[in-house]
Amino acid sequence: MINIDRENSTPLYMQIKTQLKDMILTGKLSPGYKLPPERKLADILNVNRSTILNAYRELKADNLAISTVGQGTIVNPALGSVANINNSNITPIQLPWKHLYSKMMSLSSDTITQDILELANRKDVISFAAGIAIPELNPLEELKKINEELISQFKHVPFQHTSTQGYYPLRDSIRNLMQKKGIIISNDEIMILSGSQQGLDFSARAFINQGDIVFTEEPSYFCARQIFEAFGANVIGIPMDDDGMSMESLSYMLSRFKPKFIYTIPNFHNPTGITMSLEKRKKLLALSYKHQTPILEDDAYGELRYEGEQIPSLKALDQNNYVVYLSTFSKVLFMGLRIGWVAAPKQVIQQFKVLKQISDVHTNSFSQWCLDRLIRENNYSNHIQTVLKENKRRRDIMLNSLNRFKPQNLEISWIIPEGGLYIWCSLPDEIDQKELMKNAEEKRIAFVPAKVFYSEDCDDNCIRLNFTFPSPNQIEKGIQLLMEAITDSYKEKQNEANSYTEIKPIV
C-alpha cells in the first residue's frame, strides 16, 4: 500500500507521510482509523522504527493524526468535519491571516530574546548572551520554609485574587527598600508588576500615540525599544559618553523634538554597563523639567553595585514628580517569580491600574506573598550580600580572562562595569560580527552583537558579554574560545582582503 523509493532525495519519512496524508485526505483512511503500530509498519516497509515515528509525528503536526492512550496513533476523528463543511476532500486552505494582523503586530517581529533564552538553555553552549543572574544563588531553604509556613497558616488565601495594584504588605516592603535608597514615597505610589517588562509595556500603552517620539540611550535594552515601537513610537537614540547619556545631544534634541518621555537605564546600563554620573543625573532632571518631559527610569540593575559609591537614583533626586521608576527582583532574586514594580506619581499609577486590570488582572498572588515574607525576614539583605560577592568574583574572572586571552595584535577593549551583569567589549573594525557569530557558534559560544541594541544601522563593533550565567570555569574557557573565534574571523578577513583584486577601469 505504501511505496518507498530509496533513490529519491525526499527523506523516507516524508515519503511515507505524504502517502498516508493522501490516503487520509482522500478518505481511504477514515477518521478514527487506527494506524499500524510503528514497529509493525517499520517491519512491513523494512525501515527503521524512527522513520515511522517521524512520519507519524509529521501527520500529527498537520493535525491529520492524533495519539491516543491505548489505541496508539489514529486518524484524527475531528477530520470527519472537514467533509461536512467543505463537501470536498481537498486539503483545507489556510486563511491568509496576515492581512488580519494589526499594524502594531507588523512592527514587532523580532524573536531575539527568545533566541537568546533558548541558547542559554542549551547544555552544550557556553552562553554569554543571556542577562541572567547566577542561577545557583537562590535562597532555597528560606523559600521552602516560607512556603511551608504560608500554606499551613493561610491555606487557600495566598492562592486567591490579590488587589490589582499588588499585595499590600509587599508594596509596603518595597516602599521600605526604596526608602533606604533615599526614595521617599507612599504605598499608593507603588504598584506590583509581572516583571518590570510589564512596566515598559504599560508605559508604552499609557503614553504613546502613533507617531509619538520617545528618546532612549543608544544603544539600549532591545525589549524596551521593541515595545515602544510596537505602540507606534518613533524611537530616537541619544548617544552615550563614558558617564551616561550625552547631555549635549539630549539638550539639542530636546530643542528640536518633543518626546513623550525619555527612557534611561542610569545604573549599569544594558548593554554597556555604564553608570550615569551624578552631574548628569541632575542635568537630565533639569532638562526634563525645562522641557516638561517625563523620565522613565529603568533600574533593573541598581542593586548590583560591586565597587564605588552608590549614586542616588533619578527618582530620589526628582523634586517635581517627573520620574516613573521601574525595578525588578529578576536580577537579584528569583527571576522565575516574575515580580517587578513601578514607583510613580499617583495619576500614573491610576492609569497603570486600569491597564493591569485588562492585561492580567494582577500579579501571581503566591509569588507576592513569598517574596514579601522573604524581604521581611531580613534574609533579603544577607542574600544580596552573597549575590554581590559572587557576581563581583565572576566579573573579575571575566576581566582577567579577557586580559589573559586577548590576542596581542588586535585592538580589543572593554568598559569595566562597577556593577550589573554585562561587559561591553569593543572589537577591531575588521571583524565582521556575522562571521564572528558563526565562528563562535562552531565553538559553542554565544554572545549578543551590538546591532541588537541599536535602533538604526550601527557601526559600533561591540559585543555584550554576560558574566553571571556561566560558571567561573565556563567563563575562562569560553573567553579563551571566543578570542580564538575573533582571531579566526580576523584572519579570514585578512585572507579575503589579500585575495581581492581590484577592478581597474579600462581607459
Binding site: A78, I93, N138, L140, I151, F159, S194, F207, S365
Partner: protein, 403 residues
C-alpha cells in the same frame, strides 16, 4: 503628563467602585466572579511546591522560554485533546498569565483603530474593556437561551459585505460554555450552524472557555474546534476556575503560526509567566489530575445554583426572567424595561446585598434592566437570604412602577 488616546477609553469602572463596598464581610455579594475558595487543595499544593524546590529549584526559579514550561503545554494539549476533540501538540499552546492576557493579546494582535469586533450581546465585561484599549467598534450579535443566533450573525455579516465593511471585521469573540454573564450554553446545533457561517465568511473566532468543565448535568460540550479543520478558532483556557485564580495561569491554543505571533507579543508584554507556578500546576495535574477537584466544584456549585434558582422562583416577581444555567458560575436576570439595575443596586447595598448591574456587559450600552448574579461564592443560606433581600427591593420597585 499627557497620556495616550487609548487611555481616554479606559476609565476605571464605576461598578468596580460600587462593588468595593461588597468586600465587607457583612454583605452578601453576588458580585464578583470568584470561585469558591474552600475547595482549594492547599495541602497538596504545599507538598508539590516543596518537592519542586527540593528537586528542581534552579529550573523553577529561572527565566525560561516565553512559550511556557513545555511539560505543562504538553499536559494542556493532552487534556484538551480529550475533552475538546482537538489534536493539539505542544506547539499549539502558549501559556499566558490568565486567560485575561489572552484576550488582551488578541486585541494587540488583530485590532487597529476603528476595526470591528463582533461579540455576543451581552458579553464578558473585562473582554470589552481589554478590546477597548485598541479603539475598535463593536457589533453585538443577539443571543437567546440556545446561544448566539445564527441568522442574526449571518444578517450582520451580509450587511457588512454589502457596505464593504467585511474587511474591517477582524474577529468574533464568543463564550459558548456557561457564558459570562448569562450562564447560557450554546447547543450543539448552534455550534455547527455558527461554524458554517464563520467558514462562509472566513472569520477568525476567539473562543473563551474558562467554564467549559464546570458542567452540572451531562457531558462537557465540544469546543468549536471540533468543526474547525481550517483552524479559524483560537481557544482561550485557564486554571482560574478549576484550581485557583491567584496563580494567574491560562493558555491560548490554536494554529501554530498564530500562536507564534502571540509568543512575540508575550515577549514584549512580560517576557514569560512564572516558572515555579507553571511547574506546580504541571506536577499537580501529573500527580493528581484535576478530575477530583472538578467533581467537587461541580457538586458544590450545582447545589448553590439550585438554591439560587429556586429562591428566585420563590421570592421574585414573575415579571423578572431568569436563565437556568447548566454549569458555570452565573445566572442572569432580566427585569421589566422600567427597572434600572444601577438604582436597584444602590438600594440593595443599603440592604447589604450586591450584584453586578447588567448594562456594563453590553459594549454599546443599554439594557440597564438586567442583572448578573454569581452563585459560586456564597453558602446556600446566604444565597437564599440574599435573593430574598433583592426580591424585596425589586418587587417593591415593580409594584410601584405598575400601580
Amino acid at each position: 503628563m499627557e497620556f495616550s488616546e487609548r487611555m481616554s477609553f479606559l476609565i476605571a469602572s464605576e461598578i468596580r467602585e460600587l462593588l468595593k463596598i461588597s468586600d465587607q464581610p457583612d454583605i452578601i455579594s453576588f458580585g464578583g466572579g470568584l470561585p469558591s475558595p474552600e475547595v482549594f487543595p492547599s495541602e497538596k499544593i504545599k507538598e508539590i511546591l516543596n518537592s519542586i524546590l527540593s528537586t528542581n529549584p534552579v529550573k523553577a526559579l529561572q527565566y525560561s522560554t516565553t512559550e511556557g514550561y513545555t511539560p505543562l503545554r504538553k499536559a494542556i494539549a493532552d487534556r484538551i485533546n480529550c475533552s475538546l476533540y482537538t489534536s493539539f501538540t505542544t506547539d499549539n499552546i502558549l501559556i499566558t498569565s490568565g486567560s485575561q492576557q489572552g484576550i488582551d493579546f488578541t486585541g494587540k494582535l488583530f485590532i487597529d483603530k476603528d476595526d470591528i469586533i463582533l461579540c455576543e450581546s451581552p458579553t464578558y465585561l473585562s473582554a470589552i474593556n481589554a478590546f477597548k484599549a485598541y479603539l475598535p467598534k463593536f457589533i453585538e450579535v443577539p443571543t437567546d437561551d440556545d446561544g448566539i443566533i445564527p441568522d442574526e450573525l449571518e444578517a450582520i455579516l451580509k450587511n457588512a459585505q454589502k457596505s464593504s465593511l467585511l474587511n474591517r471585521i477582524k474577529l468574533i469573540y464568543v463564550i459558548p460554555d456557561f457564558h459570562n454573564p448569562t450562564g447560557r450554553t450554546w447547543t450543539i446545533e448552534r455550534r455547527k450552524q455558527f461554524m458554517e457561517i464563520v467558514y462562509k465568511y472566513k472569520l477568525p473566532v476567539i473562543e473563551d472557555s474558562p467554564y467549559s468543565e464546570l458542567v452540572f448535568e451531562g457531558d462537557v460540550f465540544p469546543s468549536l474546534k471540533k468543526w474547525d479543520p481550517e483552524e479559524l478558532v483560537i481557544s482561550l483556557g485557564t486554571f482560574s476556575k478549576v484550581l485557583c485564580p491567584g496563580f494567574r495561569i491560562g493558555w491560548i491554543s490554536g494554529n501554530k503560526q498564530i500562536i507564534y505571533k502571540y509568543v512575540l507579543i508575550k515577549q514584549g508584554a512580560d517576557l514569560q509567566t512564572s516558572n515555579l507556578t507553571q511547574m506546580c500546576i504541571y506536577e499537580y495535574i501529573d500527580k493528581y489530575g484535576l478530575e477530583e477537584d472538578i467533581e467537587l466544584i461541580r457538586a458544590k456549585y450545582k447545589k448553590r445554583r439550585d438554591v439560587m434558582y429556586s429562591s428566585i422562583k420563590k421570592y421574585m416577581s414573575p415579571e423578572v426572567k431568569s436563565t437556568y444555567p447548566k454549569g458555570g458560575m452565573f445566572l442572569w436576570l432580566k427585569a421589566p424595561e422600567y427597572i434600572n439595575s444601577r438604582d436597584l443596586l444602590e438600594r440593595c447595598l443599603e440592604n447589604k446585598v450586591a450584584f453586578v448591574p447588567g448594562g456594563a456587559f453590553f459594549p454599546n450600552g443599554g439594557n440597564e434592566n438586567t442583572l448578573r448574579l454569581n452563585f459560586s461564592n456564597m453558602c446556600e443560606e446566604r444565597i437564599e437570604e440574599g435573593i430574598r433581600r433583592i426580591s424585596d427591593v425589586l418587587n417593591k420597585m415593580i409594584i410601584k412602577a405598575t400601580s
